[in-house]
């Protein structure tokens, strides 16, 4: 067998080793102990962060559900006044926004943070403080956003906030701003989680858990996280554009000045439709794992499922404009998106057939998870079929913006995500609770929810066919809508009763514990069911199959006796094993940071920054921003510690690996790459916006500044790029000695040159009379500079940070993780600056 890293697979034969001393477990317990009392808020361990994350997302599910019940009461009969019109607008906007942004995506990400380390047998995810930051940012930002409802400032323009309705002219006040800044902020949290998940899945798997043996949930989370990284930048960009238009009058979406409201729809749905799959895929991964344990057999078509996940990931980026069929798109364009919408049903169908085949070939246990899983397959398939219907342009034109669409999306989302999530609650609650949830009550809950769901949404297909539009707070009697709406309202309360019963089950049985668990109630075969503590498993097993617990009945005892990898803490601190991305061969031991208040502080002040901007308290916003940056730097300060005396440690079986490394083998290198993809995607979407506006309104375009000036800016960026390389080269040359100032000074010079070239770029455009408030061209050209300005500011901060570290003797030679990251980020900034400078200067005026 080939090796990916030079590791000899024959070394796996040394395991299981002899039983290891019990004192090592006490040492692990001491090292991984959680803080007590209020100090628990500084915990970063996935057992706590994951649980809080799941609980918070479920809280938002309940809150959004209550809003839905309010809307259903309002619509139970014609001409009701239960909710005033304005309040109803806020309710449906908040219901959609909270369900999509504060429940669905965070919930699956939360389950990932909680389950993945155990499922992969890692000690924790690779950046626990990033997980903590992602959670606290979401928690604080989400609650602040939701509370806008209580002061009448909740957004009311629909969950997709189309301009011109949401422009300053038609939506004065702060309501739309709360949505724009709140959602932008929460997306940052989602991206932080995605970085963690990508690196975690690819680099912290148990040895020999090759890609072909990875649990389907891990595959799904990998595709999910990659999709977040590619899709969410679009919504970050479009929320920035609209907020800047509202606050500073830059006309991105104003057609009277060369903007175009359709640009918003393109950018929003470029995120919005992949978002549906972003929600569905992790749930599908959970389904694949649960189907296996329900049917007590291997998943049929494991590799087909992987293929389907990857295919869905790709094709979902070609369907965004099927939400825009009713706009004035060219017919051929609608055809492309219609064709892609048909094509995406192929991989979805593959997954459904794999589940059905697995259930049919095994012996299905009549358990609560089984009920929810089968209910999910039925409901999701129905939603998928209506999805194919609305993928056809003529049909979509008939039902667009009617209740048919409401029915379709609820069938897809409840069938594809909510039912699997409840199945997951019952399946994995015993892992985090000392007592399992009631299987008997669970079946009642399922039937109430299943019945309620269909009674609510099945009639909506008819209501839509009959022409009732979405987002209206009432309707006239005698149109044939009365009985259907009343039926839907009754159904929604049945659904609500199911969820209320679930809360009762939780209150009666769920007891969160990190010390004892109810055990493997549904007899799963994956690694999360190994005996574990806050350090995850006592030792990290060698994986030989996809269901290790089924194939090796002794594995639990062997792991608990420390007979596999890392049976102790060789460096005496928190650590995990980093493995290679494809074959999961052991590469090195990563030192992990422990509890810290700084991620919490960073999240609170980041939220403060965004909220201050929302209410236009700019000075306080700057104050919060500075504290947030300081908190982030303070948390990072401890993470790149000088290495312990041991350069190599024994990870079990006499196998020696290095402690922490830099460069392409290091997990930090991977994380920075992912971050650069995020920034690159924001820039790419801005380039799309530029080209789109140029194509729509070329008459407002003027000729660019002179070529000489352009060459000067590009040359300066090239010098900055060279400086980053020289700094690293000098550091390497000083191996074994002190770093001195030159390495960081070269990075600082690079960052200052970038700031200078940005200034040149800006003044160049100003000198030829371009103003951001006067035309769509001005707005988008200056927006490209705003984006570049952001990375330049970060580059300057990073260079200064590197200088501080050098002053404290923390810039180790010949390589250093912080140096590596700073230099590569500044290099990225130089490349982005060159691209964003060149693009608008290549297009002549219209």
């Amino acid at each position: 067998m080939n090796s990916e890293t030079g590791f000899d697979p024959a070394l796996y034969d040394r395991f299981p080793t002899e039983k290891q001393p019990d004192e090592d477990v006490e040492e692990l317990n001491r090292i991984w102990a959680a803080p007590k009392g209020w100090g628990l808020l500084t915990a970063v361990n996935n057992n706590y962060i994951g649980f809080w994350y799941v609980a918070t997302s479920f809280l938002f599910f309940l809150l959004a559900g209550i809003l839905a019940l309010g809307m259903r009461v309002q619509l139970a009969a014609p001409m009701q006044e239960f909710l005033p019109q304005d309040t109803y607008n806020q309710f449906f906007t908040m219901h959609g926004t909270v369900m999509m942004f504060l429940f669905a995506v965070p919930a699956v990400e939360a389950i990932g943070v909680m389950l993945l380390p155990q499922m992969l047998a890692a000690r924790d995810l690779p950046f626990p403080r990033l997980s903590a930051y992602a959670f606290w940012a979401y928690f604080v930002g989400g609650l602040a956003f939701f509370c806008s409802l209580f002061v009448g400032l909740a957004p009311d323009g629909g969950w997709f906030m189309y301009p011109p309705l949401t422009s300053e002219t038609y939506s004065p006040g702060l309501n739309a701003d709360f949505w724009l800044l709140g959602i932008g902020f929460i997306e940052i949290s989602a991206i932080a989680g995605a970085v963690e998940i990508i690196v975690g899945v690819l680099r912290t798997r148990a040895p020999n858990m090759t890609l072909d043996r990875m649990p389907m949930f891990a595959w799904a989370m990998l595709v999910f996280a990659v999709m977040i990284v590619l899709a969410f930048p679009a919504v970050i960009l479009c929320t920035m554009l609209l907020e800047i238009e509202r606050a500073f009058n830059w006309p991105f979406f104003d057609p009277t000045r060369g903007g175009d409201p359709m640009l918003w729809q393109h950018l929003f749905w470029f995120f919005g439709h992949p978002e549906v799959y972003i929600i569905f895929l992790p749930a599908a991964g959970l389904m694949s794992v649960m189907v296996t344990s329900i049917a007590r057999t291997e998943l049929i078509g494991y590799r087909l499922n992987v293929l389907a996940l990857v295919a869905t990931g790709f094709i979902s980026f070609g369907v965004w404009a099927h939400h825009m069929f009713a706009t004035d798109m060219p017919a051929v364009s609608t055809g492309y998106f219609s064709a892609a919408s048909m094509a995406v049903s192929l991989p979805a169908g593959i997954q459904v057939f794999c589940w059905i085949a697995t259930l049919a070939s095994g012996k299905v246990q009549s358990t609560t998870p089984a009920h929810f899983v089968i209910g999910s397959i039925v409901t999701f398939t129905m939603g998928g079929l209506t999805g194919v219907m609305v993928g056809l342009v003529p049909f979509d034109l008939q039902v667009h913006d009617t209740y048919f669409i409401v029915a379709h999306l609820h069938y897809v989302l409840i069938g594809g995500m909510v039912f699997p999530m409840f199945a997951a609650f019952y399946t994995w609650a015993p892992m985090t609770s000392s007592k399992a949830l009631s299987d008997k009550l669970g079946k009642w809950i399922f039937w109430l929810m299943f019945t309620g769901m269909h009674v609510t949404f099945l009639p909506m297909h008819l209501t839509g066919f009959m022409g009732m539009p979405r987002r209206v707070y009432t309707y006239l009697p005698g149109r044939g809508f009365d009985v259907l709406n009343l039926t839907s309202t009754i159904g929604s309360f049945i659904l609500g009763a199911g969820i209320l019963l679930f809360l009762f089950d939780l209150a009666r049985n769920f007891r969160f514990s990190t010390e004892e668990s109810a055990g493997n109630v549904y007899r799963g075969g994956t690694l999360e069911w190994l005996p574990s503590g806050l350090y995850s498993t006592r030792s990290i097993p060698v994986v030989h199959s996809r269901q290790p617990l089924w194939d090796n009945p002794n594995i639990c005892d062997e792991v608990e006796e420390g007979r596999y990898f890392l049976p102790n803490a060789p460096t005496g601190t928190r650590e995990t094993l980093i493995t290679s991305p494809i074959r999961a061969e052991p590469q090195y031991v990563q030192l992990m940071p422990g509890p810290s208040p700084w991620p919490l502080a960073a999240a609170v002040f980041t939220a403060g920054f965004f909220l201050s901007l929302t209410v236009q308290a700019y000075m306080f916003g700057i104050f919060c921003g500075v504290i947030a940056v300081f908190s982030v730097l303070r948390w990072l300060w401890e993470t790149d510690r000088p290495l312990p005396d041991k350069k190599e440690v024994d990870i079990g079986g006499g196998i020696m690996v290095p402690v922490a490394i830099t460069g392409p083998k290091g997990h930090g290198w991977w994380a920075l790459n992912v971050l650069m993809v995020v920034l690159g995607m924001i820039a790419f979407m801005a380039v799309f916006a530029y080209l789109y506006l140029y194509g729509i309104n070329p008459e407002v375009w003027i000729d660019p500044p002179s070529l000489g000036e352009t060459a000067l800016i590009v040359g300066a960026n090239g010098v900055a790029l060279a400086c980053t390389w020289i700094g690293r080269w000098i550091l390497k040359r000083r191996a074994g000695g002190y770093a001195h100032d030159a390495p960081w000074v070269f990075q600082a010079i690079a960052a200052v040159i970038l700031a200078g070239s940005l200034y040149l770029d800006m003044t160049g455009w100003q000198d030829i009379g371009l103003r951001p408030t006067e035309s769509g061209m001005g707005a988008i050209v200056f927006m490209l500079m705003v984006l570049q300005g952001q990375v330049v500011i970060i580059s300057l901060i990073m260079a200064a940070y590197l200088g501080f570290r050098e002053a404290r003797g923390l810039l180790t030679t010949p390589t250093n993780v912080t140096m590596d990251i700073v230099a590569r980020f500044i290099a990225y900034s130089a490349i982005q600056g060159t691209a964003l400078t060149l693009l608008p200067r290549l297009f002549l005026g219209g």
Partner: protein, 92 residues
Amino acid sequence: MDGPIDQPQNWRTLVYAFGIWLIHFGAAYSGELIFPNQSAARWVAAGATLIALAALFWLWKRGEDHSTLGLLAIGIATTGVIYDALPPLLVW
């Protein structure tokens, strides 16, 4: 034993096949954005389709020991490309 997914040529085939689909989709749609309702857009789409099909054919030919996974990926991507080639042919 390595599974098919652990073989670099298989996951590369997977990613390349769907990548070709995505690039074809992007090219055809960009053509329509730049030349809305004009015959030039149809020529762009036709050219992109021929190149995409050629690339998929090359992907199929280059690997002599394709797993079912790779073949299916090429199959689905080809179906997607052909689907996307239909609108400029059928919508006039």
